[in-house]
């Protein structure tokens, strides 16, 4: 995949930059990295980060600094679907441990790993603001809440079907 935004992505990039005052285009860095991550395979390679730096006319190091600080940027390739399961206090007291164990067993991976077929990555994360609907996980843009083992099974099936259809 060439590291260059297509027309739609470039239009979105320009919209992001236009929100800030003249000369303050660096402010668009966080949103631009989200766009780049979504556009180039779900993670930020050095090549991708350098590309974003050149678009914003800032130094590559300024991009690396930011990309390494924020937890939503993946600095390594990830599976097609990333299951980010919340493990903080309120989720823990509502049974997130059981869901995490079940996911480990069902996917046969440890947190931080990706399944051999490249479909799923399991990530443990801290509070996502869904404490009242716990246990929960985030998959892409979507929150999956009130998780049970049955619900986890159907979520996995749903994404497998989605992958098979593409």
């Amino acid at each position: 995949m060439a590291t260059i935004f297509n027309d739609t992505q470039m239009t979105e990039f320009k919209r992001l930059v236009a929100r800030y005052p003249e000369g303050k285009q660096k402010s668009a860095l966080l949103p631009a990295l989200h766009l780049a991550q979504d556009s180039f395979g779900g993670w930020l390679s050095t090549e991708t980060m350098d590309y974003v730096a050149s678009l914003l006319t800032i130094e590559p190091i300024e991009v690396y600094e930011v990309a390494t600080f924020y937890s939503m940027y993946n600095l390594k390739p990830v599976g097609k679907f990333v299951f980010e399961v919340c493990q903080t206090g309120p989720c823990m007291i509502s049974g997130s441990d059981n869901i995490i164990d079940y996911l480990k067993k069902t996917l046969d991976i440890k947190p931080g790993e990706t399944t051999k077929d490249g479909l799923f990555t399991l990530k443990l994360v801290e509070c996502l603001g869904a404490c009242g609907y716990a246990p929960m996980m985030q998959v892409g843009k979507i929150y999956k809440e009130h998780l049970t083992k049955e619900k986890v099974d159907s979520i996995i099936a749903e994404y497998k079907a989605q992958a098979a259809n593409n």
Partner: protein, 450 residues
């Protein structure tokens, strides 16, 4: 039923769309503020309302607004803090998801009062679908003439932009948020200068919480004095509480701050009691940073008086026997919960979220996590408990931003009120791995178990 000022229309079908919201009386406050009021009278009304910041610190909003510097020719900015990352807190999400136009309406009035022509909503990166909802609401409001150039023919221009964060609790702290908005790492700035003098791009900036800015709408509609009549003492108006943990009805509730904690937990209008008929053990009433309280001190103060869901009552007794209303993240723990484990997960959270600038916070949060994990997994020693106490004391008050305090307080309160449970873990390394200290603290004076 208590008074509802923010969520009263939340269940109206289609309220998320502009047409329904407007039909239900939405955007009246913009008409009133822009056509009938000056920027000074708006700030006056907000002062009279007694509104206190809903992001956690409870600072009077009107006073904060009056501090904004107005140097000639320098643009000013209002920034809405939608970072909402304090464990237990999910009220802003609810408000933005179901009533996006209420926030936009509050933002227009507030931007006018502060003279912000470009206002930013900084939203936590994980709330991606809410970003879409907000952007749609902004487009609708703009199409209807409430945003853009020369709003209502008054000459006031205003645009609202939504910026997503990317996963960092520290970016909820207002100066870290400003750094992040500028495209930097979220390292809090040393104050002074305060944002009201030099904020985003070194321009005068006001940062307010989502709920605070939404509350501007009823304040303008009712008038500050009427708003101040709701509630009690310095806890005026209504407060959103996000309730979670081991209760029958987790969710977001709007309360007027005259109800007791007991009513909030046990009445069917709110939490509906403890789940599965279990007993209440403890509660963190204002987001993970505030002190945990055992059931007896939660429901009544040390003086034996009922405790109320407001700023003053929840902090009655100071940290010795009280807590704080904080962000309104209300976390309830039942008899089966382990205080050591709960404290460990919170310590892990703060270690993960420390930006690393100050050594007491960076090193201290790491040590607290490690020691708590050691005790939790049955490898702890008695001296570890004192060591924990010592570390938290050395963090508190010795850091650039309040995250250090926020990490220290939960550990301090857990040891203060549940020391015997920590000791039990140390004394019972094996038993503690398979069973639970349980309810030896149980002293709920009202709901005495059968």
């Amino acid at each position: 039923m208590g008074v509802k000022l923010l969520l009263d229309k939340a269940n109206v079908p289609g309220i998320r769309t502009y047409d329904v919201y407007r039909r239900e009386g939405g955007y009246r406050s913009v008409e009133k503020a822009l056509k009938e009021m000056t920027t000074d009278t708006i700030v006056e009304e907000v002062k009279k309302s007694g509104l206190r910041g809903r992001g956690g610190a409870g600072f009077p909003t009107g006073m904060k607004w009056s501090f904004i510097a107005k140097p000639e020719g320098v643009p000013r900015h209002l920034v809405c803090n939608a970072d909402e990352s304090e464990p237990g807190t999910f009220k802003d999400r609810y408000l933005m998801e179901f009533l996006p136009h209420l926030l936009i309406e509050g933002l227009i009035v507030s931007s006018y009062a502060l003279g912000s022509n470009d206002t930013y909503i900084y939203i936590r990166g994980e709330y991606a679908w809410i970003t879409d909802i907000l952007e749609q609401a902004i487009d609708e409001a703009k199409a209807a003439g409430w945003l853009g150039k020369n709003i209502l023919g008054t000459g006031f221009d205003c645009n609202i932009h939504v910026q997503r964060g990317a996963g960092a609790y520290i970016c909820g702290e207002e100066t870290a948020l400003i750094e992040s908005l500028e495209g930097n790492r979220g390292n809090p700035r040393i104050k002074p200068p305060f944002p009201a003098i030099q904020g985003v791009w070194m321009r005068p900036t006001v940062v307010n919480n989502v709920e605070t800015l939404a509350a501007i709408v009823p304040i303008i509609n009712l008038g500050g004095e009427e708003y101040a009549k709701i509630g009690v003492g310095k806890s005026t108006g209504t407060k959103l509480i996000s309730a979670c943990g081991n209760i029958n009805k987790p969710g977001v509730y709007e309360i007027d701050m005259t109800i007791t904690v007991e009513e909030f937990i046990y009445s069917d209008e709110y939490c509906g009691g403890i789940k599965d008929g279990k007993k209440l053990k403890a509660c963190i009433p204002g987001g993970s940073s505030v002190p945990i309280l055992p059931a007896n001190l939660l429901l009544t103060t040390a003086k034996g008086e009922p405790r109320y869901m407001n700023y003053e009552s929840l902090s009655d007794g100071g940290f010795a026997t009280g807590s704080m209303l904080g962000s309104g993240g209300f976390i309830v723990l039942d008899e089966d919960q382990c205080i050591v484990k709960n404290t460990y997960t919170l310590a892990r959270f703060y270690r993960h979220e420390s930006c690393g600038q100050c050594s007491p916070c960076r090193e201290g949060t790491g040590w607290m996590e490690k020691i708590l994990q050691k005790i939790e997994t049955g490898k702890g020693e008695m001296s570890d408990i004192d060591l924990l106490w010592d570390i938290q004391r050395k963090i508190e008050g010795n850091t650039i931003c309040p995250l250090g305090d926020a990490a220290a307080w939960p550990v301090a309160a857990a040891i203060r009120h549940f020391r015997d449970e920590f000791e039990w873990h140390v004394n019972n390394p094996e038993l503690s791995q398979t069973s639970n200290f349980g309810l030896q603290h149980y002293a709920d004076p009202i709901h005495v178990p059968a």
